[in-house]
Symmetry: C2
Subunit: 169 residues, 2 copies
């Protein structure tokens, strides 16, 4: 009896850890949410005035290095770009400053560059989107990538990426 | 003669190093450009539709930790916030996405929190701005801080900071 009680908190901890680690499901094309993306550095930002969203475009270390060297056409294999999208909201005390609504996170989109692994879809990139704070993978099957690619076709000539890095002095 | 020639490249290197290290002058109130700010993580972004600029708000490690814990009123001593400001430019291939003009860097502004050191100006923050890619310190004398403080007075009640952190899931 004593042993059983002593084990309970341990089992609880193990279960919580497992649940947390497996919490975000992969996309239908088998991509996993990149670890540590919240700590990535920023490549640029944008404000889509058509759908009223603000975006931070983040990059993993390979992406940041490539951006700073101007080696972005093509981006090197191993690059991951993340677009964090928020509903817009005027700042409470400066109404003409349009900022993310802290309660309005829309989705996180990622592009994974691997010219061999993702040669099949014709772009060399793996495409992924997780919806909302619950981080639900987007797409019913792997075909969802065609939506991403269709939208990005105008920037086929710049390795399928809209963002031009905003480099700091 | 041989010695003199051999020394020249060395002297050149030393001079270049000194020039580089001392390249960015401090502000009239004695603040130095924070080292490594280009590698800081992002706290939020904004688009000022009144003066047509896009901004990335970056934070040092203390700022990021405070933002994630929701401990931002007041921000802890040691916090540095950096606002990187760019002229706006529609993206070439998505005209309703307004992004920084990569050639239009305007200035970098910083707020340094130290409730003792900066008690004198009534805010607990040191204020600084460096103009353009040449990073010229703003202000003719330390009085320039009054301009910063005047603009930030509407957010006196949230520790003088406009930005509300946009936290990722």
């Amino acid at each position: 009896m004593y042993k059983k009680i002593a084990l309970l908190p341990l089992l609880g901890t193990l279960f919580a850890f497992t649940a947390q680690a497996g919490e975000v499901a992969p996309t239908p094309n088998g991509l996993k949410l990149p670890e540590g993306y919240k700590d990535w550095r920023v490549i640029s930002v944008s404000h889509r005035i058509d759908n009223h969203t603000l975006r931070m475009i983040l990059g993993n270390d390979i992406a940041i290095e490539a951006a700073r060297k101007g080696q972005t056409n093509p981006w090197p294999d191993g690059t991951i770009l993340g677009k964090m999208v928020w509903k817009e909201k005027p700042e409470d005390h400066w109404k003409t400053a349009i900022a993310p609504d802290p309660d309005g996170f829309v989705h996180a989109e990622f592009m994974f560059k691997d010219s061999k692994r993702f040669a099949d879809n014709g772009t060399g990139w793996g495409w992924a989107r997780w919806l909302g704070r619950e981080q639900k993978p987007y797409g019913k099957n792997a075909g969802f990538q065609q939506e991403c690619i269709a939208c990005h076709t105008p920037v086929k000539g710049q390795d399928w990426v809209f963002t031009r890095p905003a480099l700091l002095p």
